[in-house]
Amino acid sequence: MIRLSKSAPLMGFGRVSMRGIRFGTLALAFLLLSATRWPTPIGAADVTAANSASTAGSISQGLRRILDGNLDSSTPIAVSDLRAMQGHVHTLSEKLKKCTVGVRVDQERGNGVMSSAWGSGVIISKDGYVLTAAHVAGQPNQACKFTLHDGREVDGKTLGMFRTLDAGLLKITEGAEYPFAELGDSSKVNVGQWCIALGHPGGFQEDRGLVLRLGQVKNIVEGADLPDNRAITTDCTLVGGDSGGPLFDIQGRVIGINSRIGENNSTNMHVPVNAFHDGGAWDRMLKGDAWGHLPGQRPWLGVGQDERSTEAKIATIAPGSPAEKYKLQPGDVVVSFDGRPIGDFAALRKAVEDCHPNEWIRLKVRRASGTIEEVGLRLGKKSE
């Protein structure tokens, strides 16, 4: 599920964050109130306990500074520091695994067959809200399945997604209480800081389970006023299936969501966690809003409007387009899109825009002959 960025176009920017702190704090408070009755953070308490037990207790000042990203290359590190750090990661990883889930979103293809997208996610509230990547979630209000750390499968649904930043929200719908991860503040992330990525590379595998990676933040472009290119880059290697999984800071707080990779092993990009609540994003996602486009990923049907018609009537078919491949014709009128009625061409355009490239959709088309046909087709991708 990893998307590919051509490479990290971020080098050399360093950390960019301005309104981040104030905004982040406000938005977080807002999130606590409106999202869900924010429970006493059990997970967070545990994590804190773990921290005081191993991090604060036995890790030296020098290592502590390095873990936090206050990098001073002249600080010597002893083997005992490595051992302390390892002990800390052992304890922490057990807790973090319990909050990390496999995600499967089933999608009906045009031909009536179900196909699935596999990814990962992280539970962030007791009642089962799950952060993931927008490209894992796919579309709002679809059924999805979660695989918990112990292999148990529970039902859920997709909520909204902010595609420009690849942020998506899901919810476990089987009522119960779930272990959850504490949220960090991505505006305070530093280059050099140690971090942990979890996920299900290649999709959930029962005989393997979650896969942990430890690495460092290599680059960060973050701030609420940077809407398009916000990302945390780390050397925690990611691959398809990891998408949507959490990036934790070394205290075990979620600071990012796995999103995409470049060709270099050190180019693994994560959605900064603040992107989920900055600027009212959280509220919109809760309502099931999907907006924006994954970078370089505009969906494409390939039909041109017949402007003489008030309906969604097709005048032209672009060569090489999905419309051509699935045999739409000039003169066809699209009357419904995935079961939703389409009144005019603008509605059709909007419906396409709300999809992902390569997504299977189902159209009802009135042919020039007057017969209504159902066409299942797979959208393409328009380069920008």
Partner: protein, 356 residues
């Protein structure tokens, strides 16, 4: 069967593939550690690094190795230097970490289950790797891979505790996600299913005698079979049960035909040819090249907890736990002494490709 990896992402990357320039150098692929970390890792791996060997095949670097006996026995990754039949690809030479010369090596034995080979060079009083006596390291434990340099070749942590790795056969189909049956939604050209005459829409009812109830069950069952194995498949077509025999393909073969996951996994460098089906392996996140496999992996105590056995993907390297390596070496050396050989083990002899 690779339905899983294939469907991994309905956001496709295929067209991006063409845009990307290829192959970065090994240095560019390596993780860059802060100096303080690099220094302490260099220090703790010192003893293991001394026992690390560079193995050459036909004049080129092929793998690393570890000294397992003072008299010149060295263990390494077999498939980098031997072909399927256990014959060397070319002249095998070893360079010790404290020497500036290459010594010719003979193959003493090979175990195809673990993909280990034991070599012998003419030497004595060599430093044997400092084996760890603790059981396999837990998730998040540091792992350092020494090469012949002062600094670590790679540093990572345990990603998944030691487990048995499936042999990863493939049928070459995509399956509908269904909890009641396993219906084919795609049949890949050139792989087992197509050759066996399976078609889209067929429902697999039995696989190698096992009754199949769900797609997931079938996926799992296929993964735990061996490539090349012949299995009987009972399937339903047009409401009639029919039987086919399939000679299973390998997952690698299938992945190689699937642009996306193969492409993603290749971002980050080449993969080992033999990278599945190990009886027990620790998965770790150290970035390695195939030629970096075969040598020791060191824990935070400076002890050797395993032997790198495969680079298997962008996020995964595998190491055989020390106990398994030691058992296998003991077995191969015992075989050498008693001159009883099995199919998998070569008797001790001076071997050159010409002889075979």
């Amino acid at each position: 069967m690779k339905g899983r990896l294939i469907s991994c992402g309905h956001v496709l990357l295929l067209s991006l593939a063409a845009l990307l320039p290829v192959a970065l150098t090994a240095q560019e692929q390596q993780r860059i550690l802060p100096r303080a970390f690099r220094d302490v890792f260099s220090e703790l791996m010192k003893s293991a690094a001394r026992s690390t060997v560079q193995v050459y095949s036909d004049g080129s670097r092929a793998a690393l190795g570890a000294i397992v006996r003072p008299d010149g026995h060295i263990v390494t990754k077999a498939s980098e230097i031997l072909n399927k039949n256990g014959e060397p690809w070319g002249k095998i030479e070893c360079q010790l970490s404290f020497e500036n010369q290459r010594r010719e090596a003979q193959v003493v034995g090979r175990d195809s289950r673990t993909d280990l080979a034991v070599l012998k060079i003419d030497a004595k009083d060599l430093p044997v790797v400092p084996w760890s006596t603790v059981e396999s390291p837990g998730v998040g434990s540091w792992l350092v891979t020494p090469g012949l340099s002062t600094y670590p070749l790679s540093v990572g942590v345990v990603s998944v505790a030691a487990r048995k790795l499936p042999p990863n056969a493939a049928l070459g189909v995509a399956l509908e996600n269904n909890e009641r049956q396993a219906r084919l939604t795609e049949v890949r050209p050139g792989l087992a299913a197509e050759a066996a005459g399976l078609r889209i829409g067929d429902i697999i009812r039995k696989f190698d005698g096992e009754e199949i109830k769900t797609s997931e069950q079938l996926r799992k069952s296929i993964r735990w079979h061996y490539p090349g194995e012949k299995v009987k498949i009972v399937y339903e077509r047009d409401r009639k049960l029919q039987t086919a025999e399939a000679e299973l393909s390998s997952l690698n073969e299938l992945v190689a035909r699937d642009d996306r996951s193969d492409f993603q996994n290749s971002l980050g460098g080449k993969l080992s040819d033999r990278r599945t089906g190990f009886p027990l392996a620790i998965q770790h996140d150290s970035v390695l090249r195939p030629i970096d496999c075969g040598g020791p992996v060191v824990d935070v105590d400076g002890k050797v907890v395993g032997l790198n056995i495969a680079r298997a993907g962008r996020v995964e390297s595998y190491a055989l736990p020390s106990s398994l390596v030691r058992e296998t070496v003991d077995k191969l050396l015992k075989t050498e002494l008693t001159s009883t050989s099995t199919e998998e083990q070569l008797p001790a002899r001076k071997s050159t490709p010409q002889e075979r």
